[in-house]
Symmetry: D3
Subunit: 136 residues, 6 copies
């Protein structure tokens, strides 16, 4: 169980309510998840985290669905169940099909495997690869 | 330095050469990276890994660029330098712009942060989120 | 559920009881947590782990509260729920306020984020930083 | 080598220069590390990250040295060499002695060990511990 | 709860049934675990994963029990509860005693500790060690 | 480069020398690796760590080679290059063949992959598996 009390909208300070209102407006939902209610125990972290997430997850050169998929990939690698479930829900809402989820999980599994093959054999980087990876 | 000798094409067994040929044909390149040359010290792992990577990274419901981005996200989370560099090179070849790389890294950073906010506060999953995450 | 039987004080061997007694005396408590009851299934590990924890967590140049905060930081990064909860309990006992916990979690989140920004951009160490980090 | 070009002060846009100026003023230094010069390739990430780091690392209920120690603990756990070195440098500047560094590393090592003893034995949380960990 | 529906034998396609049959025949069991029933939601991943696991876990220069112990070591390090439990069950079936499990967990804990001592002190590799680690 | 000065035998205190002597006698070698020379900057950690490693890695129900393989498996998963190289050297000395190393790395890669398949699909533990995993 969470280590802090969840702050419900009715009990929230005006500063917290302003963040909740912006979350609901931005995401077009009418409720707040436990994540934000827990962060609200520390209003500065709530506000900073929401503003960062809002900026980072906004459509840019990558579309919102791709960003959700990347979020899932990290969360699966780290084993954060809450994050896997909440971003899987978010990705489904953004259009992720069952087939896309299956392919995502397959890629994440494979990357975690080959990361360790590289570590295990202590493979050094090819000059040509390093060059191709760099910004021109 | 790598713990095994890299197997060059000229020194490779027919079985290893067949895999090298398929890698070069599939990827439309005329050389083999250290990763495969190290795996070739164990022909069974080389063959199995290549066939798995080939299947997993093939275009499906997710396009090849998105799959490369996911590979980078995992490798950045795990801190595998070889993998970050080789899949960044792969993603650039598949069309990743500098802006896309920047957004990818920003999402990966944010996900790693919020994964730990969830852990730190020990936040339990919302019923509604769990339900929305599930396959219908 | 735990993979081994918890060893209760009443059922413990003299060697295990001696460790339990020292834990309770050192920590000024009158009961033993599941962690130690599980380790007691292997008396050598119980004794070695307790003696190490006792030495490492004793007041030194860092005070016990700071050490508990560091323990939480690691456990949050690794996602070990048991460890997060038990060391949060320990830190509260040692004087950690809600505000301190919030700041701790914020730092841990930020460090996990910037660790990946560094990985993602493959940033090399500044000579001046490396020099400033070293023991004089 | 870094995947993006470092942005030197002389070549920076006004927006980036404003962040650099604030970093140098806040930290009372006259130069910028590679970390910020790499982030500057994406001005939005540079600005957001600096403002977050500035807020999170400011003195609060935890003092700046304790926050640097926590940053090191996370970075050591994740194996981020750049981050270990830069925050060790920062901690030394904030007053960390060699003895404090040694104790910090000892706690981090021990926490990483016991996190896995808990995982290995699959130890469930004690009711009393969970209760003691919670905010009153 | 799992994000996909488990595919029971009775509801499985011929392709999935063929994999299930091979799993049961190879492992000499008459039922299928949740792991495979979840993977079966994506028949390509099911088939590829089973064939890889079958090849990798087959007796070779390392015996099946040693391979199960290694699987547990990784799973404990990553904190994957399902994997810890299923491979502990597998290892017990292959002959792992309680004493062997205790020693395994002790080694895994110690390795996780010393990995971080190395990181914390940023210790560079000895020439003689690097040479001794390499294939002759 | 290491953050502390390596303590050479000639410069070591009697307490540190006693540990060095025991390391060399136990391992039947005539030199000390950087790991111990770095730890020697903190004599208490040196002594405690050596005594723990000595106890944990001693022959028991698991033989020394198996313990070295487990150490490598953890180090590869964590990406600790120093630890991978030093324990690969140790394992070779204890009789590990190239084939055994290849199989070890293959198992570690596979376990890291399936750990994430489990996370990705959020697969819950089978009752029968949990029961089979427990100590009788």
């Amino acid at each position: 169980m969470a280590l802090v009390k969840f702050i419900e909208y009715a009990d929230a300070s005006p500063e917290v309510r302003a963040v909740y209102d912006d979350i609901m407006a931005t995401r077009k939902v009418d409720w707040i998840t436990n994540f934000w209610k827990a962060l609200a125990s520390d209003a500065a972290t709530l506000k900073r985290t929401w503003e960062s997430v809002k900026q980072v997850m906004a459509p840019g050169e990558l579309d919102p669905l791709t960003k959700e998929l990347l979020y899932i990939a990290v969360s699966v690698t780290n084993g954060c169940d809450y994050c896997i479930q909440s971003h899987t829900a978010g990705a489904r809402k953004a259009g992720m099909s069952d087939g896309m989820l299956a392919e995502l999980i397959a890629v994440v599994g494979m990357a975690n495997e080959t990361n360790r093959l590289v570590n295990g054999y202590q493979i050094e980087i090819d000059e040509r690869v390093a060059k191709a990876a760099k910004q021109r």
